[in-house]
């Protein structure tokens, strides 16, 4: 799925230059569940943003199923994000003024599907995460775990190839964390997704097929 070659990302700050990723080489095969651990500031989030085509590398290349994301224009990247990649965030990032169903629908808007189909698919997605009856609730009427489920539904409603999760259980209690991880694992198996989870939580990382560790911008495999 992903092939990273000498991927480097540096940020210029007023006083110094920060190297978030330092010549990373990585291959992620299709359908793998990968967990990436590491200390804060080690480069985890930056790597995820590279994988999600949300930012460009300073040098090196990152290929998603043959497309070199570092050379594509912004419009093309948006299309890839709309159809190939699902994103789940630590803070859920639901739009507060829209209902659960509408939040999920938002992911289908760039696809240009009809309103009817959009509602149908969004409803199905919500049901697949167990929130069929909460379709009309606003985010502030949902618990943390429920909001994250909506976010997962939103990420998967477009049938992407990849699911990227940035600390998906970081804001949740232990029980909810386990529920969410159960959900993610189940969806991974059912839909043959390639899943990359960034986490600092070992309990979460243990559930992955493959564990990576990133620190100081370099990656290493964890046995």
């Amino acid at each position: 799925m992903y092939t990273l070659t000498s991927l480097t990302k540096t940020y210029s700050q007023p006083k110094r230059t920060v190297t978030a990723l330092n010549g990373v080489d990585l291959t992620i095969p299709d359908g793998q569940l990968v967990a990436i651990q590491g200390p804060t500031g080690g480069g985890k989030s930056t790597l995820l943003q590279m994988l999600g085509a949300l930012d460009r590398p300073t040098s090196g290349s990152i290929a998603l199923r043959g497309d070199d994301l570092s050379t594509l224009g912004e419009a093309k990247l948006a299309t890839i994000r709309a159809s190939e990649i699902g994103f789940v965030f630590q803070g859920f990032n639901l739009i507060p003024t829209l209902t659960a169903l509408e939040n999920v629908e938002m992911a289908l808007v760039p696809a240009g599907v009809s309103a009817q189909e959009r509602v149908h698919r969004a409803t199905q997605a919500l049901e697949s995460v167990g929130l069929g009856e909460r379709a009309t609730h606003l985010p502030n009427e949902l618990s943390g775990g429920q909001q994250q489920r909506v976010a997962i539904a939103r990420a998967l409603v477009k049938n992407p190839k990849v699911l990227l999760a940035d600390e998906p259980t970081g804001n949740l209690d232990e029980q909810t964390r386990d529920e969410i991880m159960d959900l993610l694992e189940g969806l991974w198996r059912d839909q043959n997704l390639t899943v990359v989870i960034v986490t600092h939580d070992s309990a979460v990382a243990k559930r992955a097929e493959r564990r990576l560790r990133i620190a100081n911008g370099t990656i290493s495999e964890v046995a």
Binding site: S45, L54, A78, T79, F87, T97, P110
Partner: protein, 530 residues
């Protein structure tokens, strides 16, 4: 989804929506009210000018008054001479009366042939020449001078003077004549005194055949008939209704003009509620020229252009063919309208327009600033949208859409408030006084001596006095004082413009806000997640 998202945002962020809408509403309402009132003022000015110059007069041609010659008196001499046997003498008093018809003070006459020059020009659909005159009467009572004698004047002095030296009249008077030392008698006060009266009224000579253009084209006939083509050469006159009433004259009465007796065949009134027409008396042009001695002279040409787009071209052509003439269009004459109407006009055009522009700019600025601040607050939201696949264009479109709708809401409220304001103005229906002088003195009658008004600086109320028919040296150019009710019209066009302004404001704010949103890099936007 566009509509749903938009609706939720506007309702969810109500404060921002309300503030932007209020700003836009105020600006739009002001634009509508100012535009409407200024249109009303313009209409009022046109009405006033029409009452003086007549309907359909697009251009007036006159000549500037020549300054008085060195050493001469200003204007025609105001001497009245009577011979020793003038007047009628009865009962110890002699009554004298004379009248003179001459060009109105402050006007210059020019050749009537200029009218033919103007009529022949391209773009002129009609032209008429008029002669503005003033008739001044001088009448009074003198004592009978034949009764007042110097000593020894009528009798014969019986004594003979043989004095060879200087004569000191030592002879005694033994004549039989009446006693010269009797006290004076007769006259106005019965004791040898005199009294005189000077009166004047305005006379306008016009061609009865040309009634489509000129001062009489906008009057209503209140009695009798107007001047007709058959009246050319006759001593028939038409009177202004206000003058007729003041001087107790009616159709069928006679009137002395310049020593000739005229018959009143009709009375006309102005269309304004309390107005006078351009002149007290109207007579055929040829008679006016003959009696005043101003043969083949006129003082004003009223010109009607074949269409409003031709006016500028016609004015240029007249100025070229008649280099000495002063050519004025309605716009030039508008500045001659004095009174509270002209104060209103000045106020609306300068203060009103500037206020509208400032408030509109402020409303736009509020919309822009609030939209930008809204975008900043939604950094994470827009970052997320980009992460789930929304393109820049789509996000900009969403922001712009929200902004336009906010402005349209404000615009709709503004139109409603603006229309309400116009209704209030019309209910209030202020009556403004305006005076436009018919003096053809180059369109500057406000400064002509004796003319009415004073540039409208006197604020509320009657800023223009009616020119008195009497008064020595006064009563020069005939002025029309009109009370005009200010009516503020609303055209569909101004509403369309107002709505368009709201849309423009919304688009501007949306474009700028959207540009800010598009510049958000998703990675940075999401970095705040941590």
């Amino acid at each position: 989804m566009f509509g749903t998202y938009l609706r939720r945002e506007l309702i969810g962020r109500r404060k921002q929506t309300i503030i932007i809408a209020i700003g836009m509403a105020l600006a739009i309402a002001l634009v509508i009210i100012v535009n409407s009132v200024s249109a009303g003022v313009r209409n009022a000015q046109t009405t006033v000018l029409q009452s003086v110059y007549g309907v359909g007069t697009d251009i007036t041609v006159s000549q500037a008054a020549t300054p008085p010659a060195e050493g001469g008196t200003d204007g025609p001499g105001q001497r009245f001479d009577f011979g020793a046997d003038a007047g009628a003498t009865t009962d110890g008093s002699t009554t004298v009366a004379t009248s003179r018809l001459e060009a109105a003070r402050g006007t210059t006459t020019f050749a009537a042939s200029d009218l033919d020059t103007v009529t022949a020009l391209q773009g002129v659909s009609g032209a008429a020449g008029t002669l503005a005159l003033t008739n001044t009467t001088f009448d009074g009572e003198l004592p009978d001078f034949s009764q007042m004698q110097a000593p020894g004047a009528t009798g014969s002095d019986a004594g003979t003077d043989t004095d060879s030296g200087t004569d000191t009249n030592s002879g005694t008077d033994s004549g039989t004549g009446s006693d010269a030392s009797t006290a004076p008698q007769g006259g106005a006060d019965g004791a040898g005194g005199s009294s005189f009266n000077v009166d004047s009224f305005t006379v306008l000579g016009l061609d009865p055949a040309a009634d489509a253009v000129g001062p009489l084209s906008a009057v209503t006939l209140t009695d009798g008939r107007g001047l007709e083509t058959s009246d050319t050469g006759t001593d028939n006159a038409v009177l202004d209704a206000t003058y007729a009433t003041a001087n107790d004259l009616a159709t069928g009465d006679t009137l002395d003009i310049g020593g000739t007796t005229f018959t009143v065949v009709g009375i006309v009134g102005a269309t304004g509620s309390d107005a006078e027409t351009a002149s007290n008396v109207y007579i055929p042009l040829d008679r006016a020229q003959a009696i005043s001695g101003l043969t083949d002279q006129i003082s004003t040409i009223s010109v009607q252009a074949s269409s409003s787009t031709e006016i500028a071209a016609v004015k240029a052509a007249i100025e070229k063919d008649l280099p000495d003439a002063t050519v004025s269009t309605q716009e030039d004459l508008a500045s001659s309208v004095s009174g509270s109407l002209s104060s209103a006009s000045g106020l609306v055009s300068s203060l009103g327009t500037w206020l509208s522009i400032i408030v509109l700019a402020a409303a736009f600025l509020i919309a822009i600033l609030f939209t930008i601040s809204g975008v900043s607050r939604r950094t994470r939201e827009f970052g997320t949208l980009k992460a789930i696949g929304w393109s820049n264009r789509r996000i900009v479109g969403q922001v712009a859409g929200e902004s336009v709708v906010q402005s349209l809401i404000g615009g709709a409220v503004g139109v409603a408030v603006g229309l309400l304001g116009v209704v209030v103005v019309n209910l209030f229906a202020p009556t403004l006084t305006a005076s436009a002088s018919a003096s053809p003195g180059g369109g500057m009658p406000g400064g002509a001596p004796g003319a009415a008004g004073s540039g409208g600086g006197s604020g509320a109320g009657d800023a223009a006095a009616n020119l008195p028919a009497g008064g020595f040296g006064g009563g020069q150019a005939a002025a029309s004082t009109t009370d005009v009710v200010l009516n503020a019209p609303v055209t569909p066009l101004i509403i369309v413009i107002a709505v368009a302004l709201a849309v423009v404001g919304g688009l501007l704010a949306g474009a700028i806000g959207g540009w800010r949103a598009s510049r958000l890099r998703p990675a940075e936007a999401l970095r705040s997640v941590g």
